[in-house]
Amino acid sequence: MEDQKIVQMYWERKEQAILSTSEKYDSYCMTIAENILGNREDAKECVNDALLVLWNKIPPDKPQMLSAYLGKIVRNLSINRYKKNKRKKRGGGQLPLVLEELEEVLSGSRGLEEEWEENYLLECINAFLAELPEEKRKLFVCRYWYADSIKDIAQRFDMTPNHVSVTLKRIRKKLHDYLIERGYEL
């Protein structure tokens, strides 16, 4: 079913919308959640919660890209669950590795707590991604948005894991330099 029709069903408050969303995007959502959480049961709960959040957000929202919109919800819930699990000393997944890699981008930086700084940082990241070649942008998003494993990315893009790691490292360095040029004190 087309996304527009699914969104329309949400607006019409038809519960079939949830079923259709689940049928179409369950695998997609589970991948995101499992990548972050490394735990299928927790991932399943997050995906179910995401469907409820989606139901509550549409309307008034009317997403143009339902997959990305839903993916963001799942990612958010999964990260929150990850933090919760971390506090409980359980769980794992790709997130610790992803965080470790991102650490070098902002090592020593200050003042990102302010909302305006976060917005500016987001603008910079989007601008940075816009300048990247499509393939590298996809690699970056797969790793740092979807939290895909290096192995999965390598298979998806038909590259060696080593090649993926090296490419990501170069992109991180590039982003690091890009942020410095735009005023971040790193």
Partner: protein, 234 residues
């Protein structure tokens, strides 16, 4: 943690980038991995081009010889090594799957992707290729799940399937150690055991165009290296 903050900020990246990352699979092999795989694949591919339905035996020699004359593309479509075990190496590229026997020093199997319209190992939907853990089968299928094939290595035959036998495992991988065991600019090396490595390198003669015949397999065990030229018929 700053990295957690960055991760959260990235939640707001453009939705088209998020969607884009899942809508296209460039399916580009790294040059390091591709050379070895490509070499082997090309060997088999050469055979495939010449004799798409060749049988095991001497007919593969003709295929290998003919394919050896063809040019290797050192790019995204270079071959890949899928499997090593029991004296066999399985490779593939966009043309098909090849099986090379290290003892017989010749091709012993080939599955041609072209008549099946499964040559698109890049783009969307693309064709994924995996070897079974035991090396007896190779599956190749479109990323959208619309078409699935299973190649039987021993029988050297393929068939279309609705789904893959769940008892089959597809987790075979080789550890890429090219960074520490690089043989040349166009080479890849995989660790296949303690102090054992399988590599391929492409060594063109002079300034000639690089062809499949320039592909050399190198099997190293306890420091002793044995070379094979899949596309050069003795």
């Amino acid at each position: 943690m700053k990295e957690e903050k960055l991760l959260e900020v990235m939640d707001g990246i453009r939705e088209d980038y998020i969607a884009e990352a899942r809508t296209g699979n460039p399916k580009k092999r790294s040059k390091k991995l591709f050379p070895l795989v490509a070499c082997m694949v090309f060997l088999f591919v050469v055979a495939a081009f010449v004799m798409p339905h060749v049988q095991k035996g001497s007919s593969y020699k003709a295929v290998a010889a003919e394919k050896g004359k063809e040019e290797i593309q050192l790019g995204a479509t270079m071959p890949s090594i899928l499997y090593y075990g029991a004296g066999q190496v399985i490779m593939y590229d966009y043309i098909g799957i090849w099986v090379y026997d290290l003892k017989q020093e010749q091709l012993i199997g080939f599955c041609d992707f072209r008549p099946l319209q499964m040559t698109q190992i890049q783009g969307e939907p693309c064709v994924f290729v995996d070897a079974s853990t035991d090396g007896k089968y190779v599956r190749f299928y479109k990323s959208d799940g619309s078409i699935k094939y299973l190649y039987d290595v021993k029988k050297d035959s393929y068939k279309e399937v609705d789904d893959y036998d769940k008892t089959l495992s597809w987790k075979f991988t080789l550890e890429d150690v090219t960074e520490t065991h690089r043989l040349s600019d166009h080479s890849e090396t995989y660790k296949i055991g303690a102090d054992s490595y399988l590599s391929y390198k492409i060594e063109p003669e002079g300034d000639e165009t690089i062809r499949y015949k320039d592909l050399i397999l190198v099997l190293e065990k306890a420091g002793k290296k044995t070379t094979y030229r899949p596309f050069t018929v003795k």
